[in-house]
Symmetry: C2
Subunit: 450 residues, 2 copies
Amino acid sequence: MNEVNAREKQAELLQWLGDHNQRAILEYLKDWHPADIADLFYQLQIEDRQYILSILGNEQSANVLLELEEEDRAELLDNLTATQIAQDVIIEMDTDDAADVISELSDDKKKEVISQIEDSEHAKDIVDLLRYDEDTAGGLMGKELVMVYNSWNVIRAVREMRRQAEYMEEVYSVYVVDDDQKLLGILSLKKLLTTSSNTIVNDVYNPKFRAVAVTDSAESVALDIQKYDLYEVPVIDELGKLVGRITVDDVIDVIREEAEKDYQLASGISQDVGIEDSIWSLTRARLPWLLIGVAGSLVSSRILDGNLDAMEAVPMLILFIPLIAATAGNMGVQSSAIVVQALASGSMKRTLGQNLSKEVLIGILNGIALALVLFAFSAIFYDNYLAAATISVSLFAVIVVAAIVGTTIPLFLEKKGIDPAIATGPFITTSNDVIGISIYFLVAKLMLGI
Amino acid sequence: MNEVNAREKQAELLQWLGDHNQRAILEYLKDWHPADIADLFYQLQIEDRQYILSILGNEQSANVLLELEEEDRAELLDNLTATQIAQDVIIEMDTDDAADVISELSDDKKKEVISQIEDSEHAKDIVDLLRYDEDTAGGLMGKELVMVYNSWNVIRAVREMRRQAEYMEEVYSVYVVDDDQKLLGILSLKKLLTTSSNTIVNDVYNPKFRAVAVTDSAESVALDIQKYDLYEVPVIDELGKLVGRITVDDVIDVIREEAEKDYQLASGISQDVGIEDSIWSLTRARLPWLLIGVAGSLVSSRILDGNLDAMEAVPMLILFIPLIAATAGNMGVQSSAIVVQALASGSMKRTLGQNLSKEVLIGILNGIALALVLFAFSAIFYDNYLAAATISVSLFAVIVVAAIVGTTIPLFLEKKGIDPAIATGPFITTSNDVIGISIYFLVAKLMLGI
C-alpha cells in the first residue's frame, strides 16, 4: 500500500469509527495481526481504542492488549470490570502472559480478577506464576507444555499430547518425566512421528537436554538460550521437577531490553523509558544524570578557580579546556563500552591486568596520534611551542588515564554486583572531565613553571 | 564445580594436552556443548586448539568452529587443506553456516573448497546461498527445510518429511507448496500427528503464514520475527517460490548486533569490534571518533580565543566553560538516544513536530531545574548575582537548544537513509559543545554588556 492509499484508508477508518460502523471496521481489520492493530492504536483516541476492542472477538482483543505498552494496556483495562478481565481477557491468554497482565493490576483488582477466573486449573497456574520475581526464570516461564511419562508407549504419548495441546498454538517439544514428575529428557515431535506406536517412551527419548532452574535470573536464561541456540527451555525446581517452559520469543524481549538498557544508561537515561512515555517519566529518567554532570562540572569549576593565576599567565591554556574535557570523556566512554559489552554478552575471558595493558596500549597509540594533531594546530595558530607542547603532553596523559579509568570502573562495579553499564554514561564522562582538568593544570604547572 | 576445582581441572587438561593424552581429553570433553568448547579455546594456545579439533569427531569439531569468532576460526582453517575443509568440516554444517564459513575464505580457497564438496546437492545449495548479500534474508536463510506438495496425502507427507529431515536436527514446520513450488502455507507437526493418514494435505494446511522476500534486509526480517513472535519464517523469491527458511536463532544474533551497534556508535566506536579484537582494529574503530571530538574542540578553542576579552573582564565565565559544554553534550545525547531507539525498534509513531514540542518541554523542565542549581551554587561561591544569573540563563538556553539539535539530527539522518545511531555518539556531543559555547558567550555579552 503506498502512502496516499494508506492515508485515505486511515481517513475512512476514522469515519467508520465516528459512525460506529462495526461491519466495515471488522472487515477492514479482518486479517490484521494483533501487533499491527496495536500499532494502529497509537494513532487513535482512547474512545476509539475501546470501541475496537469491544467489537473484536475476545481472543483477538486479548492478543491486542498483550501487544500494547503497559501504560496503554492499563488505561484500557481500567475500563473493564474484574469479571470482564477474568472471563473475556485472561481466559484467552497463556499463563505467562496472564500472570504478567494480572501483576500489573492494583492489589484489590488483582484478587478480584483471580477469584473470577472460571477455569480453576488456569487460575492455579497463574497464581503459581505470580509468586516469582519477573526477572527470574519463574517470572518468564509459562505453564503450557506437553508432559508425558517415560512408562507410556508412543500411541498414548501422542493421544496425551493431543489432549494437553488442545489450547496450545504450537508444540515443539514433548517433555518426558518419571512418576515424580522429575524431568528425564525430551522427545521431539519428529521422533514421535517416526517411531512405531507401541514403542515405550523410555526407549526413545533424548536424555541430553538443557534445563534452567526456576530461580535463575532472566538474564542468564537469555544468555543460555542464545549460547546454545535453543527454541525452548524447560524450567525445573530444586528437586528437578518440571514446572514450566520458556520459549525463545519470551527471551528475545529480555535480550533486546538488556541491550537497550545498556545503551540507555550509556546515554544518561536511568530507567527503561521510550519516546511514548510521559514528559514527567522522561524528565525523571534523565534529570539525575544531568545533575551528576552538573555536579561534576561544579567540581571542575572549583579546580579552574584555583588555577586562574596560571590562566592569566598563559591565556592560551583557557582555549583548550573543552578539548581536554571532551577527549577525556570520549576516551573513557569508549573504554568502558568495550568492557561493558564484553561483560553483558558473556564474552569477557580476560583478567583485569590483560584488559588494562591492552587498553593502555590503545590509549598510548590514540594519545600519540591526537597529541600530534593538537601540537600542529596549536603551534601554527599560537606560535608558542612550549605552550603547544604542554597542551599536547597533557592531552596524551589525559587519554591514557581516561583509558585506565574507563576500563577499571566497570570491572570494579561488576565485582561489587552493580550493573557496570551505569559506569558508561555521564558518570564516566563527568569523572574523566574532572580528572582530565586536574591533570591538565598539573602538567601545565610542571612544564611552564607557573 | 567451584572455582578451585575448575582451576585444578584446567591444570590437568593442560597436562593432558602436553602429553597428547587423547583418551583423557576426549573423556573430559565428552558431554560438552560446542559453545563451551569454544569458550575453553580462548584460554588455549593455537597448537592446543588444533590438537583438540583434530581428535574430536568431524561433527563436533565443525560445530566448535562455528561457535568461534571469525578471526579464530580463520586461524584454524588456515591449517587445513581445501579437501579437509570440504570433506570434514563443510559437509557437517547446515547450508547457511557452510555458506558463511566459505564466504570468509580467500577467493582461491573458496573455489577449491566448493569443488571438493562431494555431495553435489549440498554444494549447489551453498553456491546458491553465496550469491546473497549477508545483510539480506537470502544471506541469513538456510536450505534445510521440509517441503511437501499440497496434492499429497498425510502418510506420504510424513514419509517425505522423514526422508528430507534425515540430517536435520529439529523440524518445527512443514512447508506446503504447489506444483510450481509456490508456497501455499504451513502444516505444523502437531497437525500432522493428529490428522488421519489419507487426508489430503491441501485440506488441512494453514494458508495463513508470514513469509519474507529473499531480498528483504536482515534487519527487517529481525523486526518481523520479533514483532510477530515467529520461530521460523519461510523465504520466497519474486515468484512466490519457496527458497529457504530463517530460524529465530539466526535472527537473535542480528537483533543483538543491531542493539550493540547502536550502543557502540553512541559510545564512539565505529565498527563492530569487541574486547577480543586486535589493538589495531580497536584503534581504527575508535580514533576517527576521537578525532571528530578533537576537531570540534579546536573549533571551540577558536570561539574561546575570540572571547578572551570577555573572560578577562569577568573571569568567572571561564569557570563554567566545562559545565556548559558537558551539559549541552549530555542533553543532546539523551534526546538523540530516545529518538534512535524509537526508530530502531520501529516504535516511532510521531511526527518531527510532535517529538520536537515534547523534547523542548522536557528541555525547559530540565533546564529550569539545572539553572536553579547553578544559580544557587554560583551566587553563593562568587557573590556576583548578575554573573550568576547570566551563567544560569545561558545554561537554560543551551539545554533547550541541545534538546532540539539532539531530536532533529537523527530524524534528519533517517530521512536521508543514513543510520541515525551515528548521531548519538561524539558527533552530537561535539556539535553541542561548539553550539553551547557559542550561546554561552552570546548570552554573556548581551546580559553583561561586555
